[in-house]
Symmetry: D2
Subunit: 312 residues, 4 copies
């Protein structure tokens, strides 16, 4: 299998929210607006059906539609990754094949999340799964949701399969991220990507390849600027941009109940910014009521936004 | 909607293992043998696609087939419950409708297990889900796998919907179980069922309605005898049977890695007993190798088994 | 060393609250009233400085005073156990020697609770500690507070030291409790005691020796009655008493913040019942304010209490 | 009270191991050698009785001696901080007073670690504790050991007390660290210090004041060099030094059982390097046996050490 990732995938690859009308209906119009907004904002790739994309809450019909429509709208302009995380290996493979047919460039996989595996089982699982996938594979570490963390040595073992071309870490544990970086230093083609936007700057400074940052759905230019500043080792700029990033994180993602506040806040802000029509969140989460929506409105009003763009 | 559970569902309702040939192929012949073995063993109901049934590891095709074939083989002889736990509400509803058409008597639902909900969201989720289901509903508490526990008051709130007719607790936390029992004492038609076979005796003594005991796949008579002894308040017999139950639990479910040892040990023992053909375990777990299989063989040889039946 | 526990310690052994005037001052008068109340209520032993006794929050001066005064007041009427759980082995040994000199009959030890040990280290720790203790030893399982649980095989290994004469489990995990019971069935002199009062009935029915029940500080007769009913296999009575026990548990221990609600509720109720003068709780917890105190008052008023005694 | 921290405490402040002969005997000779080694290595402060210093495992006699001897040996050459973390507020205050008398410059406090407090209780606890302490106070976040994390808003609330002059975070959660940094940006005199040496570089780049790095016990120059490179924004140097730091971390702290491997490996290496006489670890941990010691020896031999100094 030919991979398109001879060089590691780099830059800001936003995990797209999935615009919805209800639990069964993708809002294609909003998706078009979102993707054009991201491409215009200078991002380096697109990642659909991640945790921010609510993959697990969606029906398979909507998951498939989301992949197909995103590939159609993207028209190959940016590398597009599709998440295939599932508890069933059969469904993971099926979704990966559909993604390949639709034109995706890679797939992303977090461990099965009902049964918790030990490390040897986890490695064995990927050794079974990966060869059945038609696209390059990025491993996705998300212990808060899947209960299992890839041990650094497990990443290294799985990554002996050449088709495995990158790693996304959403643990927020920076010691862990450094450990995986060190274990993978023999593979310069291997992309080390970090989930939380709050630490993308420091991770890129230390050698990571980029960030899969949810906030880029709203303000792609900000996160791209952070990536570029870090790449250029412009620390003064990194520190300045970091303040904007933290302000967003601590005002937009912290309304309401912990756990769902990030997703609800992000979708709410996107609808207030006019990027998506409705902030419908799939069950078992529910979009904000008026008081929480007002708090997001106020958080946005604290930012310097002109013509829909954040000035920083 | 008419429910068939005017009286609470009671007795031993084994969570059937799902006999497999590989990740995509149900072993129907073994399933027939298993169901006849259980019915001959005197159990009071059948529960398919639970955690023991590896629902989450199976493709949807196999999940559907498992429900259909089980209903066909059962021919209405026993109440049959199908698990519809899913991260997607749409897929949960779809599976429940299929179960109703196939002839199942009720559905069982644990909370969505990717995103962890707070208690109000959890209640709201079931208030959305239950009215869309065509069958009576049993809530399923399984915090080790789904990360969320139903608070006792949440059970009570959800159970204000008459269609919710029972509760299965697999937490092993007996204080918690007593708390839910107390909160639900106003509904004598509400079935309080306990997962772990190691505590079914004591729970039934205190008023629970029965057990969803995995070991009953192997030795249904033992767990039925425990249920009957507890129902008759025959403590001497309960204590005696408890020793057999603990011997099985501590020898057959404790080989190899924690977490998967229960499932692998149970399927391995069932294949050694000739009840299922193969002990194939769906990915991301893998059946025992020869040394572990030998340990299960030895554990079985410590039991007094004659003509495939445990003597106790 | 001669132990006084040729037969296993049995019955209701309340974990005494520590009556305080402030963080540094034991309220000896209240302690006298509490101990007389307990002895009059028919309990079978006294346990001081447990989790309910706030050992870890107290200065060593108060810990020592609590042991000495309790032994003095008890005058050998009941077996008296002192908790010596500490993160420092040296301080544990020192407190145990003081307890022996003061006249205690045994000591209770949970694992060190700052560093979390693995099972081999845990066994090694007790093999080092126990021979340096001048009294019979009860192991104390309290994973929610000490982060480590004794594996059943670790209990068995440590209990090869004859001086280890019992086990108290506060995990609330009834499967775990049954597993330890089974592993220890070769030692009929070994006391199996359960912490949570909500499950003492069912545990004693299955063969446990008794309960270390916090509610017995308030209403010793109720828990003694439960113990006796279970011992006599009077299931109807057990089920009836269980309702009273659950009512207390779900009304008095559930006010305010989770975690500290049990301790604050218990001390508040004891002060309202006139058993202790003040419900001062040692830092880092703080006694209830007026609104929470009123809720405890109302919870008590729902019980049938006449002349300070619960009628059941 | 006058504090000595008008400017935030900055640089590398090693958490000293506590050299021991046995559970009750401080090895003063080794302590002298260690402190001279650290001062010669250019560190910016000394921190005694932290997690690396095994405070909780030591008797109070040894804790007090460790503070007194360290202050005596230090002779005021470097700012010296003493950890006073305790489950008893009375003992915390007592130790802090002793530290002040001995000449320490500040105290460090992690939350009480037996009972887990909620955030309001945690704030209330520090509002009670801090005014009774005679020295400037650094808060210490250590959720893996104390079960509770300071919420960023709780840090901010407690830090309204001027005497609270800094924060040490050992959570390894870099998103969390950034959040506290942002919440505390109004206090430029407030020291933001990070525990794990694996992320000190990136944290200092983003504005943190320094690191409390255990590895500095062995190779103080390396961590001081990292601090200086980060301070000068010399990213190429940071990345180069990071490789050495990760090599040490992944070879010396990963032998044997997880949890205790860091402490055992560090003390073992220090004894092999001749900095301390014996690698005795206080109960409930135990020093490495010969095979593990050999693995540490090999890990050290992979480093370029000349005349006891790491060449990098």
């Amino acid at each position: 299998m030919q991979t398109n990732f001879k060089k590691p995938l780099s830059g800001i690859i936003p995990p797209l929210v999935t615009p919805l009308k209800d639990n069964e209906t993708l809002d294609v119009e909003s998706l078009e607006r979102l993707i054009e907004h991201l491409i215009a904002g200078g991002v380096h790739g697109l990642f659909v059906l991640g945790t921010t994309g609510e993959e697990q809450s969606l029906s398979y019909k909507v998951r498939e539609q989301m992949i197909r429509e995103s590939c159609r709208i993207n028209r190959g302009r940016l590398p597009l990754l599709a998440c295939i995380t599932d508890t069933s290996i059969v469904e993971s493979i099926r979704l990966a094949r559909l993604a390949a047919e639709a034109g995706a460039d890679g797939v992303v996989s977090a461990p099965p999340y009902y049964f918790a595996t030990g490390q040897p089982e986890l490695a064995q699982f990927y050794e079974e799964l990966v060869p059945q996938l038609p696209l390059p594979v990025f491993l996705y570490n998300m212990p808060s949701h899947v209960k299992v963390s890839f041990a650094p040595d497990t990443v290294r073992r799985i990554a002996e399969i050449e088709q495995v071309v990158g790693f996304k870490d959403s643990s927020a544990n920076a010691v862990y991220f450094q450990s995986v970086m060190y274990k993978m230093k023999h593979r310069p083609d291997f992309a080390m990507l970090v989930g939380p936007e709050e630490i993308t700057g420091e991770c890129v400074l230390l050698g990571a390849n980029g960030g899969i940052n949810g906030g880029a759905n709203m303000f792609p230019e900000l996160y791209v600027a952070m990536y570029n500043a870090a790449l250029k080792h412009d620390i003064a700029r990194v520190v300045e941009l970091q303040k904007h990033i933290m302000q967003i994180s601590l005002s937009i993602y912290t309304v309401g109940k912990h756990g769902s506040s990030y997703l609800k806040g992000l979708k709410c802000a996107l609808s207030l910014l006019g990027i998506i029509n409705d902030d419908f969140v799939a069950s078992p989460f529910y979009k904000f009521d008026a008081p929480e929506r007002e708090r997001i409105h106020q958080a946005l009003s604290q930012l310097n936004i002109q013509n829909g763009k954040l000035i920083f």
